[in-house]
């Protein structure tokens, strides 16, 4: 049953050094505030999972929280490279970063299989590409009925999933609307789940019978963090701050300016103030 608490407590209670952690949100509803709290609490040796490790993971990697990254597209969307990710991969700063690289299709299916309680996903993927040469967890299989070539990939089953959503009730039921990404799957695949929300309400009101709702009993902690997805966006609340993403390119290009930014905007800032 979800505990409605502060972001600080939610992270402290559920994220441990060395955890496998999935922070999801596909462009929309990226849990930036929770990421900043993880940096602020100095978590270390995390295995970070994310389909699109954009600016949020650039910040975590640059701040030295991560030892491994499982991902399928690592860039600053619409802008260019992630300089902190590249610096870790190309030069080992601030520490070496192990990569496990997949395609979006494989990652989405691996989350889906994790949510479905399966140890692996069996799909059609990677035909004639070089992925199987570098990613050892891609295993060729054959359909027992048709002989068709398939691949198996291990399902994603994180220690903890972190997402941001529009609303939760005081009881902890969570509503997500608009671009849903893989958030439901990440939560259901994980042992523990933290959800930050724009607002906590008494009830979800007159919502569509088939809306994407996560019941409180699949969530560990819910924290109200208005603008918790900033600089990404929350459908119905605020738009994406494209300038932030563009500015990030300059900030992250240089180690010193990056560290100054982290100090000023994360370390010296109270929980939930990062925007």
């Amino acid at each position: 049953m979800a505990k409605v608490t502060s972001l600080e407590n939610a992270i402290r209670d559920n994220v441990n050094d060395g955890d496998i952690i999935a922070m999801e949100g596909f462009t929309h509803l990226i849990p930036f505030a929770a990421g900043h709290e993880i940096i602020r609490q100095g978590k270390r040796d995390l295995t970070l999972i994310r389909m699109t490790p954009d600016v949020i993971y650039d910040q975590l990697i640059g701040a030295g929280c991560a030892r491994k990254l499982i991902f399928s597209w690592g860039g600053n969307p619409g802008v260019g490279s992630l300089h902190r990710l590249r610096d870790a991969v190309e030069k080992g700063w601030p520490q070496a970063l192990e990569l496990e690289e997949h395609s979006h299709a494989a990652m989405a299916n691996a989350y889906e299989a994790g949510a479905a309680g399966l140890p692996c996903a069996v799909i059609k993927a990677y035909a004639n590409t070089d992925y199987p040469k570098v990613t050892k967890t891609i295993v060729p299989m054959e359909c027992p009925f048709t002989g068709e070539a398939l691949v198996a990939i291990p399902s994603i089953r994180p220690d903890v999933a972190v997402i941001h959503a529009q609303k939760a009730t005081t009881k902890g039921d969570v509503l997500i609307e608009g671009i849903l990404g893989v958030q439901k799957e990440a939560v259901l695949a994980a042992k523990r789940a933290i959800v930050t929300v724009e607002e906590i309400v008494d009830d979800l009101g007159d919502v569509h019978p088939n809306a994407c709702i996560l019941p409180s009993w699949v969530v560990s902690a819910v924290a109200e963090v208005p603008r918790g997805a900033f600089p990404s966006y929350a459908h119905g609340y605020y738009s994406r701050d494209n300038k932030y993403y563009q500015d990030w390119d300059n900030i992250a290009r240089d180690r010193d300016s990056f560290q100054a930014w982290i100090d000023e905007n994360i370390m010296q800032s109270a929980t939930g103030d990062a925007s």
């Binding site: 462009t27 597209w73 690592g74 860039g75 969307p77 989405a108 849903l180 966006y233 494209n242």
Partner: protein, 258 residues
């Protein structure tokens, strides 16, 4: 009248790419150049083209170009928005996409694409973003169009990494992949299509004012030309107007956001 029009190579490329999309086609759209071309098609000759983005937005009709693959505009103007696993399972792997429209960092003469690394994978010179949706867009779509600017850095003899598969030399691509694979490369200089025998991409149409030598100079392999090379029809005044409007609206909207 068309000789009075002035337009850039990028505009020619986008217009040529947009024309490749027939009305009513179900198109899985990559971000960047493909997104501009696909939406230009929708706003000109192909009002019923169906645009799908990997963020799960189906039949989207954005008024401005998205900066990312999951902008709010895409969901707000979509017929419906599904989860990302459903997008890749039911809609892409399920064989519902007729054309996959991709950009690229590098490609080779078979239209294999590299968006992963320059140099050795484990000690890369440049770490690129990676494949995202492209590896399976390339294999599960009915066919694939690729659009990128012509340059020696982009058109290379040998890729350091195959992120998304092109045609296989002499091979029957359909057997292995479900779709025909890449059938068109549209650049700022020309249009290339696969030789029916060798599967190597050759120049089949050149944009007005482009010389063969320019293409040769900007291609990293010994590029070949079809026996009959046509001239790409120039952009019409209407196409240019719609494209420029689209870019103007896009710029205004994105500048306007916090």
């Amino acid at each position: 009248m068309s000789e009075l029009l002035e337009y850039s190579g990028d505009e020619m490329m986008t217009v040529a790419a947009s024309r490749a999309l027939a009305d009513g086609t179900v198109c899985f759209v990559g971000i960047g150049l493909p997104s501009a071309a696909a939406n230009l098609a929708r706003l000109t000759h192909a009002p019923n083209v169906v645009l799908i983005y990997e963020s799960g937005t189906i039949e989207t009709k954005p008024d401005i170009l998205p900066l990312s693959i999951g902008d709010g505009e895409l969901s707000e103007t979509a017929l419906t928005t599904v989860s990302v696993p459903e997008m890749f399972r039911y809609w892409l792997q399920g064989g519902r996409v007729q054309v996959g429209f991709l950009g690229a960092a590098q490609l080779d003469k078979y239209a294999n694409i590299n968006t992963t690394v320059i140099g050795d994978y484990d000690a890369p010179k440049v770490r690129l973003p990676g494949g995202g949706g492209a590896p399976e867009i390339a294999t599960h779509s009915g066919e694939v169009f690729i659009t990128l600017r012509h340059s020696k850095r982009g058109f290379v003899e040998k890729l350091d990494f195959i992120t998304s598969a092109g045609g296989q030399p002499g091979g029957d691509n359909k057997k292995r992949c479900g779709g025909k694979g890449p059938t068109k490369i549209i650049t700022d200089l020309c249009i290339m299509e696969p030789d029916s025998q060798t599967k190597e991409f050759i120049v089949t149409s050149m944009h007005r004012g482009v010389e063969r030598q320019q293409i040769i100079d900007n291609t990293g392999w010994g590029v070949r030309f079809a026996e009959e090379v046509t001239t790409t029809p120039e952009p019409s005044a209407h196409e240019l107007e719609v494209l420029r409007d689209l870019h103007r609206r896009t710029k205004e909207a994105h500048a306007g956001e916090a």
